[in-house]
């Protein structure tokens, strides 16, 4: 059985559900969103990722209708949504603070939006019960928001925003208040619900792990601009800039100057007196261009003896070991003084590992392990 690949962004025929066209949003003289264009497709689980204050919430509020773009246009199903007030948009938002109505029960909170549509009573009851089942809240229907736990509140907020079956659901840091375990469970729950309902989700988060887990595509933002929009694996493996490489996960950055050494091959001069590094890159660099090699710690192999046949191998000394249970991160100091992190899975018991603090070791990685990035 082949699973059809879901990649509407690669399909030139596909019509985006949401289009940002050169959208700029200013608050007074401060530019929160800077000439940003973006397409989001139906049934996508799209994540906006970036540091605090980069404009994620502002993007959501423009989609929900609480802010209007200063310049540019936003289209929903090819319709300019600027003149449509929030209560007339087929968009629902799950608020960062949940914004549950404290004077209404869980049941009434979920029914709130449905009642505004003047639907018949039994329709509303049916839909609310369906939502309660979906979010596993049946037992709490009669409780008030202050009588349930944080995780349950978050599910009520989700159920309430899903109840009207919006074309587009906006989730603003929905899991921010949850502890790690509950957060992971909820992420999978969200994905499950998204698959079941077929709604398009846009999720805001400043947690890169969360974005990688749930999203079909991730947009990394910085200062009101999009830096990279791609699938999670491409963002991780092929960041297009130092900013993205550094923002997503742990990374070693090695500065140097490139010189072409073959088809898509470069040698990177990085420290006087040390052999240049061999790097593959599909992006082209000119002779002597200064650049950065970004390489993930788990792609760096650590060994006690000098490895044979490795594309790159450098000696060093173990400076520090961060033991995380399943994995360990070794901080290795090179003779030049630079520190490189290498990560290995702890497949053997800790007492039996081959090296410890101060031991001389070798680090090695393949030519394709890292990404060469321009300034």
């Amino acid at each position: 059985m082949t699973v059809p690949v879901f990649e509407p962004w690669n399909d030139p025929e596909a019509k985006p559900l949401i289009q940002f066209q050169n959208v700029t949003k200013r608050f007074g003289v401060f530019t929160a969103i800077d000439d940003l264009s973006l397409d989001i497709y139906e049934r996508e689980f799209f994540a906006l990722l970036g540091p605090s204050g980069c404009g994620k919430t502002t993007m959501m509020r423009m989609l929900a209708g609480f802010e209007t773009p200063t310049e540019g246009k936003i289209y929903l199903s090819s319709q300019d949504i600027a003149p449509v007030p929030p209560n007339k948009r087929l968009v629902n938002m799950m608020f960062q603070s949940y914004a549950l109505f404290p004077h209404l029960s869980v049941w009434e909170n979920i029914a709130f939006g449905l009642k505004r549509e003047n639907r018949p009573k039994h329709d509303i009851a049916e839909r609310v019960d369906e939502m309660l089942r979906l979010t596993r809240l049946e037992k709490f229907a009669r409780r008030k928001p202050h009588q349930i736990s944080g995780g349950q509140r978050q599910r009520v907020a989700l159920a309430r925003s899903l109840a009207k079956a919006p074309k587009l659901l906006l989730l603003d840091e929905p899991l921010g208040a949850l502890d790690k375990k509950l957060r992971q469970d909820t992420q999978f729950e969200l994905m499950d619900i998204q698959e079941k309902t077929g709604t398009t989700f846009v999720i805001v988060t400043h947690d890169q792990e969360e974005a990688m887990t749930v999203a079909s595509r991730v947009a990394v933002m910085d200062n009101g601009k999009l830096v990279q929009v791609a699938t999670p694996d491409r963002i991780y493996e092929n960041p297009n800039s130092l900013y993205v490489a550094d923002f997503i996960g742990d990374v070693n950055i090695i500065d140097g100057t490139a010189s072409p050494s073959g088809q898509d091959q470069y040698s990177l001069a990085w420290k006087d007196g040390l052999a240049p590094l061999n790097v593959s890159s599909t992006q082209s660099f000119s002779e002597g261009q200064s650049c950065h090699l970004a390489i993930r710690p788990e792609k760096v192999t650590i060994s006690a003896e000098e490895p044979t046949g490795a594309d790159n191998a450098v000696p060093g000394r173990v400076l520090d070991i961060a033991y995380l249970g399943n994995i360990s991160t070794y901080h290795v100091e090179l003779p030049s003084g630079a520190v490189i992190k290498a990560q290995t899975a702890n497949t053997r018991r800790i007492a039996r590992r081959a090296f410890t603090w101060e031991d001389p070791v070798w680090l090695s990685w393949t030519a394709t392990a890292g990404v060469l990035l321009a300034d």
């Binding site: 929900a64 209708g65 209560n87 629902n92 608020f95 109505f101 709130f112 505004r116 925003s161």
Partner: protein
């Protein structure tokens, strides 16, 4: 021990400032008027003992309150004036509290200051000022006549209208402040959430803002209603001869008729009437506190 002291303090307070005075007033209410000093009998006398003393007390004065229709009419009229003024105060106070809560944050302390500012002047002076404004030759009538809007002055002073104006003016801050406190705590995201779910601005106001400021509304209404019911100064200074309020009747019994026992009986009944709204008010405050936890 420390706990006992801590708990005892409010009870001692209650005992000294409420229960003891109340017992004294109740005792006078059960006595008979007399030309004496103080003007009632019996006086407690160690020689004859407590039982002889208690035997002389009776409910005559309370019976009298039901026989003369002046009293129940005064109670009813007070209830009506208190209820109507509370309604007006709410109508005026809610929009002001709403405006305060919506004002830019840096403005709010100043605006609240303006609401409280009248308290810095004597209450009596402010009521006299209203007499100057509302009288036939007062500022208001002069102003309207200068503009040519009216030919002959409005008669406002010494009518119930003047009483309503005085009460609404005096008690407005008691309405504004609790409502403001409720509205200021209201999370703006709730209104946005309501709009997001399909409410118009007005619907969001009715379905979210009003219910969530309910505790403040109730508190404000009681804070206006309870003191207004026994109000004496405003009706006697601004009201006319036909303004009937129990506070005024009470004053006349005490000082004009020097009938302390009947006056005390009037006061005791007034207190009993007030207990209902006071208990309801306490309940409201308690519920609100519980909801906040």
């Amino acid at each position: 021990m420390r706990r006992v002291v801590l708990i005892a303090i409010p009870y001692l307070w209650l005992l000294a400032l409420f229960l003891v005075p109340f017992a004294i007033v109740l005792k006078i209410a059960l006595s008979d008027a007399a030309i004496a000093r103080p003007p009632y009998i019996p006086q407690f006398d160690w020689a004859s003992g407590i039982w002889a003393f208690l035997a002389q007390l009776d409910f005559e004065n309370f019976v009298w309150l039901t026989e003369d229709d002046l009293y129940w009419k005064a109670y009813l009229s007070s209830l009506k004036i208190a209820a109507v003024s509370t309604a007006f105060t709410l109508l005026l106070g809610y929009p002001m509290a709403y405006g305060l809560a919506r004002a830019p944050e840096e403005w709010r302390p100043t605006l609240i200051m303006l609401v409280i500012l009248p308290f810095w002047t004597s209450f009596l002076i402010r009521v006299y000022a209203w007499m100057g404004i509302l009288s036939n030759e007062g500022l208001l009538n002069q102003f309207l006549m200068t503009l040519g809007l009216i030919d002959s002055p409005f008669v406002i002073l010494n009518t119930n209208t003047a009483v309503y104006i005085g009460i609404v003016y005096t008690y407005l801050p008691f309405m504004i402040l609790p409502i403001y406190a409720a509205l200021e705590r209201l999370d703006g995201a709730l209104i946005e959430a309501a709009e997001d779910l399909g409410c118009s601005r007005l619907q969001a106001f009715w379905l979210v803002t009003i219910p969530l400021s309910r505790a403040g509304i109730i508190a404000g209404c009681f804070l206006v209603f309870i003191p207004t019911l026994g109000e004496f100064v405003i009706p006697s200074l601004l009201g006319g001869s036909d303004t009937l309020m129990i506070g005024k009747v009470l004053w006349e019994e005490f000082f004009s008729n020097r009938d302390w026992p009947v006056a005390s009986a009037v006061a005791v009944v007034l207190l009993l009437i007030l207990i209902v709204p006071i208990v309801l008010f306490q309940r409201n405050q308690q519920k609100q506190q519980e909801a906040e936890q």
